[in-house]
Structures are given as C-alpha cells and as structure tokens.
C-alpha cells in the first residue's frame, strides 16, 4: 500500500495508550514509529539517520512542545514537527509555525489528516535531505578548485566570455581556456548555465 523506506516517525505522548494507538495507526500504513513518554526521553535518544518527523503534543509533562522544538533547533537537528493540541491555541500555533512546524493538528483530528501531515513531513524531510546531500557534493567539488580556478568560475557564471576572462585575469586566452575546462570538469558542469545554478546553490557572489 505504501512505500516503505527507512523513514521513522517519532511520537512523544505521555499517555501510553494514546502512544500505542498512534503507533498502531502508523503501522497500519506501513510507517515505523518510535515512542517516547516525555520530551526528555526523546532528546536524550540517539536519532537514526534517515527521513523522519516528530509528532508532538504541545502540552507535555515537564516541557512544552515549543521548548522541544527550540531545543532541537539549538542542537542543529532539523526535523519536521507536527504539533497536536487539545485546545485551539492560536498564539501557540503562530509561534510553532514560525519556528518551522510543518503542521498543527487540533484534536480531534481525522486519522487521514495526521497521516497526510506525516507523509508530507517525511517527503519534505527526504527532499531537504536530498538537497543538502547535493549541496554537500557541490561543496566538496568546489573544494577541489584552485584559487585561480575559483576566480575563473566566478567570472564564468557572471556571464564573461573566455577572452574577457583572459583580459580580466591578465593571461593569454589559451590559459584561460585551460582554466575554464578544468573548472567545468571538476564541477561536473556541462554548460556555463549549469555552473551558474551550482554557484547559486553554493551562494557564491556574482561579479559584475
């Protein structure tokens, strides 16, 4: 019915029965859940690598959902959070969404809403993870460039021709062409346009 990958849904609920019911619901759609009674338990748990999301009641014993969200951000853990609240608490909702909550569900909610939110969160997390992985690769490629090559790359994605680049860096056109080929090769770019997109993702400054 559903795609099964290594995705994990973390559930924090102080009510053991609710916790287990949620686990069962997730299981029925083929999702793996990890259960925690308190935020403390969750925060001290070693998180598995892989797409995941957190289902969190805003009112939890000892620590509020917002606190948990903040602590995760502090620890550099970027994981989508689905908040569940018993009472429609607008200020808290606003705060939670500002802090990057994916969804805010007010009890009672339809199981499909929760599952949709989870799927969306997991998908989002997957994509984020993918993008992050790509950027990481680009960074690693960029790391292999020499200083001169980085200079040439900057001029390239700023739209300069080889001749202009040569004049700009004060070399012969031949030398400039060698640098250009080296950059394209090292960055796995097929065209200056693709190189431009890479620079954009690496947030490199353009030179006018």
């Amino acid at each position: 019915v559903t795609r099964t990958d290594d995705a994990t849904v973390f559930v924090i609920d102080d009510d053991v029965r609710m916790r287990e019911a949620t686990e069962r619901l997730l299981k029925s759609v083929g999702l793996h859940a990890e259960l925690f009674a308190t935020p403390k338990d969750f925060l001290t748990h070693k998180l598995t690598d892989g797409p995941s999301c957190l289902v969190l009641d805003v009112r939890l014993p000892g620590m509020s959902g917002l606190d948990v969200q903040r602590k995760l951000a502090e620890a550099g853990v970027h994981i989508p959070v689905i908040f569940i609240t018993g009472h429609g608490d607008i200020p808290m909702t606003v705060k939670a969404m500002k802090s990057g909550a994916v969804e805010f569900l007010t009890k009672p909610f339809r199981d499909q809403d929760l599952l949709d939110a989870i799927q969306q969160a997991l998908q989002g997390h997957r994509e984020t993870r993918e993008q992050q992985r790509e950027i990481q690769e680009l960074k690693e490629r960029y790391e292999t460039l020499t200083a001169r090559e980085r200079e040439v790359m900057a001029l390239l994605f700023s739209g300069m021709l080889t001749k202009q680049i040569a004049s700009k860096i004060g070399t012969s056109e031949i030398t400039a062409q060698v640098h250009r080929a080296q950059v394209m090769h090292k960055m796995h770019a097929n065209s200056p346009a693709e190189l431009g997109r890479m620079a954009e993702r690496l947030k490199l400054p353009t030179i006018s």
């Binding site: 019915v1 029965r17 609710m18 069962r24 619901l25 029925s28 759609v29 199981d111």
Partner: protein
C-alpha cells in the same frame, strides 16, 4: 372694767328673780353678782364698801348652803366668792387656797367658763399683789378657758387689758413661749402668709417661709415638715427657736421616734386629720408614745397638708415647755396656712419636676451626642447644639445672626423628600427618622438620619435631631463593594472552576477516547488492505475495547465524586486492598525506579466501606508518591496500623520532591495541582472519600526527603456520602 355697772345689772336681775325661777339661774345670778360686788369693792367709795361687802357675804352664804348639798355644781362658785371675801378681808393664805379650790372644782366638774373666770379673778389677785408672773400664768389659763368656752370677745378684751404682759411674755426666758398675738392671726395675716407662701416656687425657700410662718403664728418652740419622698416620708425641714430667732434647717431625715412622736404623725397621715394635744404628757391616746414620754412633750400640734384630697405633707409643731400653747384660733389660721402650703408644695414639686425635665432636655441638647436644632415652619433654624453646627460646619454666629435656614442645608434633590416631611409634620406632628443628606457650609454633603417633631400639634416650631451616618454609609458602601467583589470573585471562581473542571474532565476522557478512535482507525486500515491483516486488526480492536472501558471508568469516577450516597457498603479488608493496589501499580513503579514496601498490621479489623472508593484513595496517594519520585526514583512504603483511638491508620510515604512549601493545607483543595498535567482533583477526591467514611486525611513532610500522606478510617463505620 366697769364693775359698778355690773353691780347695777345684778341688782336689776335680782328684781326679776321670782321664787319660781330655777335654782341654777338663781345661782348664776348670785355668783356673778357676788363677783361684781367683790370687784367693785376695790374701786368703790369707802362709805359704800360695807354695803357691797354685805351683799357679797349674803350671796356667799347662800352659795355655801347650795354647795353643801351639791358640791359638784356649786362648790367652785362658793369657793371663788369665798376667795374674794378672803382677799377683801386681807386673808391672803385663805384667798390663795380658795382660788385654787374654785379652779380645781370648776375644772373637775367641767365648768369651763367658771374655771376661766376663776383664773381671771385669781390673776387679778396676784397682779394686785405684784406677782406678775403668776398673774400672767393665771391670765393665760383664763384666756384659754374663755377660748374653749367660745367667749372670743372676752379673750380679746383680756388681751387688750394686759398689753404689757404680752410684751413681757414674748421677751421672757427659755421657760416661756412665743405668744402669737390674737389680732395678728386675722384674715390679713392669713392672706399675707398665704401670699408669701404661694408666691414661692423654689421648694427650699417655700419650706423656709412656711416653717417660719408656722412657728411665729403658733407660738411653737420646734416644728418639723414631713413630706413624702418616694415610698416613705422624710423630714424635710426642722425649725427651732432661739430667743426671737427662728432657725430653719433643711434636712432629709427619717421619721423616727427619736425626733418626733411617731404615733401622732402616723395617725395624721393615716386619717388626714389634725391632732392637737393640749398637754401630751397627760393621759391621751398618744401619751405612751416614746417621744412624748422621753421628751416630756406638752403642747403638740400636728396638721396634715392636703391638696385635692391628697396628703402632700405633715406639719408638726410642739412646745414642750407649756401645755395649752396652741389655741383653736391659731389652729384655724394654721390650717389655712397648711392648706395653702400643701398647694404651694405641690406647685413647687411640679415646678421642680418641670425644672428637672427641662434640665434633662437641656442635657440632651448640650451633650452633643447627636445634632439637635430648633426650627420653625418658615424655614428658620432658631437654635442648635454644637453637634449639629459641627456636622454642617456652620458657626454659632451664622446661627445667631439668623443666617441659617434648614432649607439652605437641604440639597435640591432632597427638597421633595423634605416637603413630604413637612406635610407629615403638619398632619402627624412628628416625622419618622429618615435618611437624607445635608449641605455643609462649604457645599460638601453629609449623610444623616433625621427626625423631627412639632412642639405642639398645629404649632409652628419644633425640634429636629440629626445623626451623622457618614461612617455607617461608608461602611455600607464598603460592604457593598466587598459583596460585589466577592460576587465577582465567586463568579470568576465558579466559571474558572467549571472551566477547569470541564477542561480536566475533557482532557481525561479525551485521552482514552482519542486512543480508541485511533485504534479503530488503525483497525479499519488493517482490514481495508488488499490483504487484510486480521491479527493486527484484532489487536487494534481489543485495544479499542480497553480504551473505551477506561473512558467509562473515568466518567464513573467523576460521577462518584459528585454523587451523594454510596450503595456499595461492605466489610472491606483494607490490607487486601493495599496489596491489590501494590500489584496494580508495580509496573508503573518499576518504570520510575520506585521500590514499593508494605508494612501491614496483621490483626487489622475489616471496616465497613466502599471498596472501589478505597481503591481510588490508595491509587491517588500511591500514584502521587510515584509521580513525586519519577525523576530520581525512590522508595514508596505503605503502612497500616491501629492508632490509639482504635481507628485504622494508613500511611503512604515517599522519598520524592516533598510538599509544596507553605501550601501543605491547600493540596487537598480541588484543582490545586503542582503538575502541568494534573487535574487537581486527585487529593480532593481522596479527601471527600475519606471524610465520607468518617475519617481524616492529612499530609506531613518527612524529616528526610519526601512526604507522608495518612488517613484514618473508623472501625465499623458506615459511609455517609
């Protein structure tokens, strides 16, 4: 005195006497004729003296004969004529003896007039011989006799004949009495005295005047005025004489035998009749009175003072030196004075009452315990006490200059009420106290309670009293404010309590219901798969059943909290219940590293109780204990025992975070909680259950860590709620 005409007259009378004339008339003729001759003998020409003497002797002889046959009637006459003969013949000793014989015989046989005549003739005898004092004494007796006989003209004639003796008498030493001259006791005197007395409104002065008048005109040595004072009579004044002086002492003494003849005074009080004793020491109905005996009282006069048939007092006069001091004439005058005094006394009493009343009213006004002012219907305030002026902050000058009007001190919106008050005054003469406001001089207001009354119905002036009720008003306002705040608070509390309660209930019940729903959804999903996963679906359905049951339990639990009366009374083994709960909570305790111990009294009696409610109590206490240790673990010990009073005592101790400082007493209140997810109902429910079983629950901090919660259960108790 014209004795010669007397002799002539007697001669004419002799011619009228015929043998048929009664012997008594003849005796009278002979007696007076003889005395006329005897008296005339002194002043008659010497050549006629013998003739008179013979006539005298003839009458004497006849009187002697009659006296031999009937001494009762004739002895006094014979003796007196004999005495005159002895006097003329110079037989002084014989004369004295015969005078006395005549007086004694006349007195003994009741011939008052003869006695008086004998005294008079004897007085003349002694006077002629220079015995002035003796003569005077005899003359007084003569006067007294004539007065008693009713011969007032004769008395006056005697008084006028011996003016020098009166003077001598009044100037006499302590043995004499003050003589009240007859001519002063006439109408003029009565009028004068009664005017003096009736014009006096001050009781003390009236008494003084009255006593002086009485003593002066009665010739008394001592006088007492007795007035009723409450239930008993008191001696109000005593007048005594010293020479010509009369001294009046006001006093307030008991009526006792030491100062007056009580029997006389009591008699007068009882009968409202005056008593006069000519000679108290002689045999009378009062002669045995201790005072009369001891003080040898002689002349006593006691008169009731009667005003409109009411006894207003008693006047007592005495002269212990001489008998027969008080003459009928004097008594008549004294009676007039007495009745005038009675009226005056009553008047002064009324006047004094009036004065007292006025003083009381004055005191009421000046005490300034409340504001009082006098007003007229035209709106003027004609008088006021300090309290009122202070209240409205006007000065006395404002009042005196007539600038104060009660219409000025009444605020505009009270005019209508005031108009009604005025109407009420005109119809009913009084206004029942009502609350209003007065304007102070500075325009500020003072809330007052005011009432008023006209001095007389249909009149124009009246009195008003005013009480400053600012403080009361303030207190009332404060109380109202407090009430309002309390009501608001109660409302807020009620609302928040309801909110909290429904919130707590909603949360408690939503949890298992939410779980049930989720399990149902999971169940459906397992079944809806292409390949239905029946075992998982069954598992989910079973969980659903458990969740729903839990929700029902919670509802039942809450219901039992509010339900009156418990139908599940039975004999319960409390140790058994404790052990059940220990087993039940074992998993929970383990998960928080809490070790549980029990220390149960082996011969604990069963108690009449609601088993489920007892479970609830233990569950609440034990769960609280575990919660208190959830972060660090610890020890939970449950102990049962019998206390000194034979009650079951169950204690639940932990080594957790302990009681909230300073709020040990509040933890049993509904909705008190220290836990973010707590409902604040657990301990409240616990307490209501324990108390319903007749027990008591309390918390104490442990000496080390944690707290101990204990409750008692009386044996054989029946739950009341």
């Amino acid at each position: 005195m014209d004795y010669s005409s007397a002799v002539d007259t007697s001669l004419k009378a002799q011619q009228l006497l015929s043998p048929t004339v009664a012997i008594l008339e003849s005796a009278e003729f002979r007696f007076y004729s003889a005395l006329s001759h005897a008296a005339y003998w002194d002043s008659a020409p010497p050549d006629q003296r013998q003739q008179h003497f013979e006539a005298l002797a003839a009458h004497h002889r006849q009187l002697e004969i009659w006296a031999e046959h009937c001494p009762e009637t004739f002895e006094n006459r014979a003796a007196l004529v004999g005495a005159e003969i002895a006097r003329i013949e110079g037989r002084v000793i014989d004369a004295e003896g015969l005078y006395e014989k005549a007086i004694r015989s006349a007195h003994a046989n009741g011939f008052i007039h003869n006695e008086a005549v004998a005294y008079e003739v004897a007085a003349r005898f002694y006077a002629a011989r220079g015995f002035e004092k003796i003569a005077f004494a005899y003359l007084r007796e003569a006067q007294y006799g004539y007065r008693r006989w009713g011969a007032d003209g004769k008395v006056k004639q005697l008084e006028q004949s011996y003016p020098d003796r009166r003077k001598e008498g009044s100037a006499a030493g302590p043995t004499s009495t003050i003589v009240a001259p007859v001519e002063l006791l006439d109408l003029a005197t009565v009028i004068k005295v009664s005017q003096a007395v009736s014009g006096e409104m001050v009781l003390e002065k009236l008494i003084d005047k009255l006593m002086r008048a009485a003593i002066e005109h009665a010739g008394a040595k001592r006088g007492l005025l007795i007035l009723p004072r409450g239930v008993e009579e008191r001696i109000e004044a005593e007048a005594t004489t010293s020479g010509d002086d009369i001294i009046v002492h006001l006093q307030n003494a008991s009526v006792t035998a030491a100062v007056l003849p009580e029997s006389v005074v009591r008699y007068v009080m009882r009968t409202h009749e005056g008593v006069i004793l000519d000679d108290a020491s002689s045999t009378t109905q009062f002669s045995a009175d201790p005072y009369i005996v001891q003080h040898r009282a002689r002349s006593v006069l006691c008169l009731p003072l009667i005003d409109q048939a009411r006894l207003t007092g008693v006047l007592y006069l005495e002269n212990n030196l001489a008998p027969h001091v008080f003459s009928p004439n004097q008594i008549a005058v004294l009676k007039v004075i007495a009745s005038q005094a009675a009226i005056s006394l009553e008047n002064t009493r009324l006047y004094r009452d009036l004065e007292n009343r006025e003083a009381k009213i004055r005191r009421l006004v000046d005490a300034n315990v409340m504001g009082i002012f006098f007003w007229n219907l035209e709106g003027a305030i004609v008088g006021a006490n300090e309290a009122f002026l202070h209240m409205v902050q006007y000065s006395r000058e404002d009042l005196v200059t007539g600038r104060m009007r009660w219409t000025d001190v009444t605020p505009a919106e009270w005019r209508e009420r005031e108009k009604r008050a005025r109407t009420e005054l005109q119809t009913a003469a009084t206004v029942q106290p009502y609350e209003q406001e007065f304007l102070r001089k500075d325009g500020s207001r003072v809330p007052v309670l005011a009432g008023a009354a006209l001095f007389e119905e249909g009149g124009n002036e009246g009195i008003a009293f005013v009480l400053d009720i600012s403080e009361r008003k303030q207190a009332e306002e404060q109380r109202e404010r407090l009430h309002r705040v309390q009501a608001e608070l109660a409302h807020v509390t009620r609302m928040s309590t309801m909110g909290e309660l429904t919130g707590s209930l909603a949360h408690e019940i939503k949890q298992p219901i939410g779980a049930a729903v989720t399990n149902a959804q999971a169940c459906l999903r397992f079944l809806n798969r292409g390949q239905p996963d029946v075992p998982e679906a069954r598992e989910a359905a079973l969980e659903m059943v458990r969740d729903a049951t839990r929700a029902a339990d919670i509802i039942e639990r809450v219901r039992s909290l509010f339900r009156k009366g418990s139908p599940h009374q039975e004999m319960v083994d409390v140790n058994g219940v404790i052990q059940e709960m220990v087993v039940m909570l074992h998993k929970e305790a383990d998960s928080y590293s809490v070790d549980m111990h029990t220390q149960l009294c082996q011969n604990l009696p069963n108690v009449m109780a609601d088993r489920v409610q007892l479970q609830q109590v233990l569950l609440n206490l034990m769960m609280n204990a575990i919660e208190a240790m959830r972060d660090a673990g610890g020890e939970l010990s449950i102990k049962s025992q019998l206390d000194e009073d034979g009650q079951l005592l169950i204690s639940v101790s932990d080594t957790g975070v302990g009681l909230p400082t300073g709020k040990e007493d509040e933890i049993f209140n509904a909705f008190f909680t220290t836990k973010p997810q707590g409902t604040g109902l657990g301990l409240a429910i616990t307490r209501s259950i324990v108390e319903a079983h007749g027990g008591r629950v309390w918390a104490t901090a442990n000496s080390g860590r944690g707290a101990t919660l204990q409750f008692t259960l009386p044996q054989k108790t029946a739950a009341r709620a």
